[in-house]
Symmetry: D3
Subunit: 199 residues, 6 copies
C-alpha cells in the first residue's frame, strides 16, 4: 500500500478553499447544479471558487467551447483535444477528468488512455489525427503554426469555425493545465473509473 | 522600404472579422468604450468579437486579473508578467500591446524592451525578478513548479493571493498568446510608440 | 464511436507475427505458461517471438530485474519506474501494461494513472519520489547523472544494489519503449481495466 | 518607477572598463570617430576596448560583413538577420542596438520589434523570410543545414556570395550575442527611440 | 599533463567489481574467451559481471544483434549505428569501444570520428545515411517514428528484417548507453588507437 | 570499405575555393607559413581565404585568444574549451582539428576523445571541469549566465581575465562551428592521428 495514511484525504489544492455557504449565490448555484448532475463536485469547481470573478470567466469560456451544439466537432472529439494537450503538459487533473469524458462521450473505454500516452497510435480516424496534430501544434508551438498547418486540417473537412474551435480549446486548456499544475489540483477519485465499464 | 505596398493595410487576423453594427449590444458597447478611452480599438477586440461568448469570457477573465485594485502587484508589474511570458511564446501582439502598457504604467520607456528580450538583465528589483522567475516557470513548465518555487517568491513578500495572481496572469496569457499566434493577430501601429516619449 | 469497424481487430505489430506452432519449444512454452497464468498472452510475447534469440534475451533480462525477490524495491515500485519512464517516452504499450501491474501489486487503483501523467504529484512517499527522480534522470539524461544524484537517492535508504536496480530497470525500459514504439506494439485490451475494481 | 535610483547609472559591463586616454591610438581613434558620427559611443566599443586585439578583430569582422557595398543584401536586411538571431539568443544589447539600425536603414519604425518577436509574421517579403529562415537555422542548428536549405534560399535569388553573407552574419552574431550576454553589456539609452519617429 | 597521477589507474566503474575467480563458470569462461581473442578484457564485461543474470542476458542480446551473419547490414554498419546513437547520448564508453570496431570492420580509420561528431557529413553512402537517420529517430524520438520513416529507409533497399535490426540495435544501445553512463564505465585505453594505423 | 571511390578526394567546402596564387600577399603568406610549420595546410585556411577580410579578422581573433602567453589557461586548456563546445555543436572540423591540438599540447592521447564525448567524465581536474562548465554554459545558454556561475569558476582560482578568456574562446568557436558546419568544412586527414602515438 503506497498511500501513507487513510485517515485524512489528500488536499485538493495547495491554496485555501472557500466554504460553500460563503460563496456568491451564482457560484454556489453552479456548484450545486453540477453536483446534482454528476453526483459529486469536480474539484476544479472548489479550487477556483475562491476567486468568483475568475470562476465565472473560466466556466463561461469553458462552456462556450466545450458544450456547444453543432459544428464539426463532436463532444467526444473536443474532449480528445483536452486529453492530448493536457498530457503534453503533464497535467494530471485534466488528463484524468477529461479522459473520463472521452470515455463517456465516445463510449470507448480504451480511447482516453491511448490519446493521453501517444495519440499518434490511438484508435482514431485520420480526420481526428489531423485535428489532434493541429491542436498539439497550437499547444506546444503556436508561433510556428503556418498556412500549411491550416491547409492540412482543412483538407480533412474542418471548416474555419471548426479550426477556431480546435485552436481555442487547445489554448483554453493551456490556461487550465497551468492553473491545475500550479494549484496542485487533485482529480476526484470518481473520474478514474468512469466510462471504463460496460453499462 | 520593406512593406510591399501602402495601398491596403495588412489584415489583422487570418479569420474573418465581424461588422461592428452586427455585434451584440454589450460587445459593441465594450468596443466603443475602449475606443473612446484609448483613441483606437486594439485589434484583439475585433479579432475576438466574431465569437461573442468567448469575447465576453476572455475580457471578463482579463479584467479580473489585470485591472484589479489592491494586492501586492502594481498594474505595471502585472503587465511585466505579460511581456516576459509572451516574449517566451514569440507572441508579437501581446509583446507589443502590453509592452506599451508597461511603459505607460511604469513611466519607464526602456523597460518593456528589456523585459521582452531578457528579463534577467532588465532594470527591475530583486522582488520583481522573483515574480518573473515564478511567472516564467508557470508559463514554460508548470508541471515542475514545486514548494521551493513558492518559497522563493514568498520570500520576497508576495502573499498567497499575490502568487495566485502571478500564476493566473501567466496562465491566462498562455491562452492569449496561442489565440493571437494562431489568428495572426496584428498589433495596432499605435502601440509601438506609446509611452516612449516624455510627456 | 471512434473505432472504424469492429470486424477485424487492429494489428498488434507492424511487423509480421510468427505462428505459435512454428516457434522453438522453449519460446512456445514460455508463451503458453504466461497464458496459463494471466488468462491471455500479452502482445509483447507474440511481437518479439519472431526473433527467438532476442525474445530469450529480452525476457531473461526482464526477469532478472523485475521478478527478483529481496532487495529494497517492492515489485510495485519496480513497476512504478516502468510507468514513469515509459510515459516520458510516450510508449502506450508499456504505460498500459505495466500500469496494470502497478495497480495489482500496489492494490492502489489510482496510482498508475497518477505516475503516468506526473509522478511528482502522485500519491507516493518521499522515498518513492526520490527513486523516480533518479530513474527519470537515467531515462532522459543519463550522461548528467552525478554523485549528487547518487547521494540524493542513497539518502532515502537505497543501497548500491537498489540503485543499480533502479538504473537498470530504467535502462531496460529505454530499450523496451523503443521496440514497442517502432513496432507499433498494441496493448491487450485486458490491461486497461486490470486492478481498477475492488476484489 | 522601477529603476532603483537615478543617482548612478547602471554599469554597462560586469567587467572593468578601460580609460579612453589609456587606449592604443587606433582603438581610441575608432571610438572617437563613432562618437563623432553617432553622437554617442555605443557601449560595445567601451566594453570590448579593454582587449585591444580582440576589439580590432571584432570590428574588422563586423565591418567586413555589415558595411560592405554591393551584393544581394541591403544594409537593412543585414541588420534584420542580426535582430532575428539575437532575439533567439535573448541578447538585449544586440536586439536593441541593431533594432535601431533596422528602423533607420529600412525607414520602417515597426519592423525591428516585429522581427525580434516573431519574424515569421513580420512585414517582410517572402525573399526576406527565406533569408531569415536560413539565418535562423545557422544560428540555432547549423549542423543540420542541408542542401535543401541552400536550395530554398537560392530559390529566392540569393547567390552563393549572398548565402555566405547570410551565414557569416548569423555566425558572427552567435559570437557577439554570447560576449554581450556574458559581459552583461547594456545598450545605450539612445538606441531605444532611434528611428521610431518620422523625420 | 592533465591526469593527476599515474600511480593508481582510474576506476572503471563507480560500482564494486567482482573477482574473476568468484564468478559463475560460464561468466568467467566468456570473459576469458574475449581476453584470449582481443588481448584484453573490455571493461563492460567486468562492470556487468557483478550481476551474472543481467550479464548473460546483456551479451545474449548483444550477440543476437551484432554478430549475426547474413542480412542487409554488414558488421561495420551495425557498429556505425552504435557509434551514432551513443554519441547522441554522450556515452564515452560506447563511442570509444564501438568506434574502434567501426575502424576495424570498415578498414576506414577516419570514419568512426566522423560518425560520432556528425554522421550527416561523414564519408558514408546515401543508403548508410538513411540507415542512420532511422536509427537516430528510434534513439531520440521513437514515439514519432511513422510509416514515412519506414518508407524512407525501405526505399534504400532495406528489408523488414533489416529495419528491425536497425531499430533493435538502436534500442539495445539506448539501454547500454544508460548503463555505461550511470556506472561511469571507463573505456579501456586499448580502444582509442585500435584501427587507426595501417597494418 | 565505405568511401565510394579513391579517385577524387572529397571536397573540403561546399563553396568555391580560391587559387593560392590569386590571394592577397598577406593571406598567401599566412597560408604558406602554416604549411611550413605544420607540414600541411589546415583546410580552414583555404575555405576562409575566399574572403580575405574575413580571413584576416578570423585569424586575428583566433590568435588573440588561442596563442597568447601568460594567463591562467594553458594552451591545452584553451583547446579543451574548443573541443567541448564544438562537440556540443556537432562540428566535425573543430572537434577533429582541435582534438589533435589537445593531444599535442597536453601530451595526453586519450583526452580529446573523452572531452568530445562527455567532458564530465574526462580525465581532467576539478578546476578544468569548472572551466568547461562555464564555457559550455556560454556556448549553449549564455543568456542564463549569472553571478553564481562567475562565482563557481572564480572559486577555482580563475581571475576575471581568465574568465573573459574562457567566455571569449567559447563565443569565438560558436562562430567558427557555424561557419564550419555551413560550409561543410572537412578536416584534413592528418589531424585524426596527430598526438595519438608516443614520440
Amino acid at each position: 500500500m503506497t498511500q501513507t495514511s487513510s485517515k485524512s484525504p489528500p488536499p485538493i489544492s495547495r491554496f485555501s478553499l472557500p466554504k460553500l455557504e460563503e460563496l456568491p449565490d451564482d457560484v454556489r448555484a453552479r456548484i450545486l447544479a453540477v453536483q446534482e448532475k454528476a453526483g459529486f463536485v469536480p474539484n476544479v469547481f472548489m479550487v477556483l471558487a475562491r476567486r468568483p470573478d475568475e470562476f465565472r470567466a473560466f466556466f463561461a469560456y469553458h462552456d462556450a467551447l466545450m458544450v456547444k451544439e453543432g459544428g464539426g466537432l463532436s463532444k467526444g472529439e473536443r474532449e480528445m483535444i483536452v486529453v492530448a494537450t493536457s498530457a503534453a503538459n503533464d497535467c494530471n487533473y485534466c488528463v484524468v477528468a477529461h479522459g473520463a469524458l472521452v470515455r463517456v462521450y465516445e463510449k470507448q473505454p480504451l480511447l482516453a488512455d491511448q490519446v493521453a500516452t501517444n495519440y499518434r497510435t490511438a484508435d482514431i480516424s485520420p480526420r481526428q489525427r489531423a485535428m489532434l496534430d493541429f491542436a498539439m501544434k497550437v499547444s506546444t508551438e503556436a508561433h510556428l503554426v503556418s498556412e500549411a498547418d491550416f491547409a492540412a486540417v482543412a483538407g480533412h473537412g474542418f471548416s474555419d469555425e471548426d479550426i477556431w474551435d480546435i485552436a481555442a480549446i487547445s489554448a483554453f486548456f493551456a490556461l487550465s493545465n497551468r492553473i491545475a499544475n500550479v494549484t496542485g489540483m487533485r482529480p476526484n477519485d470518481e473520474f478514474y473509473l468512469m466510462g471504463r465499464l460496460p453499462k
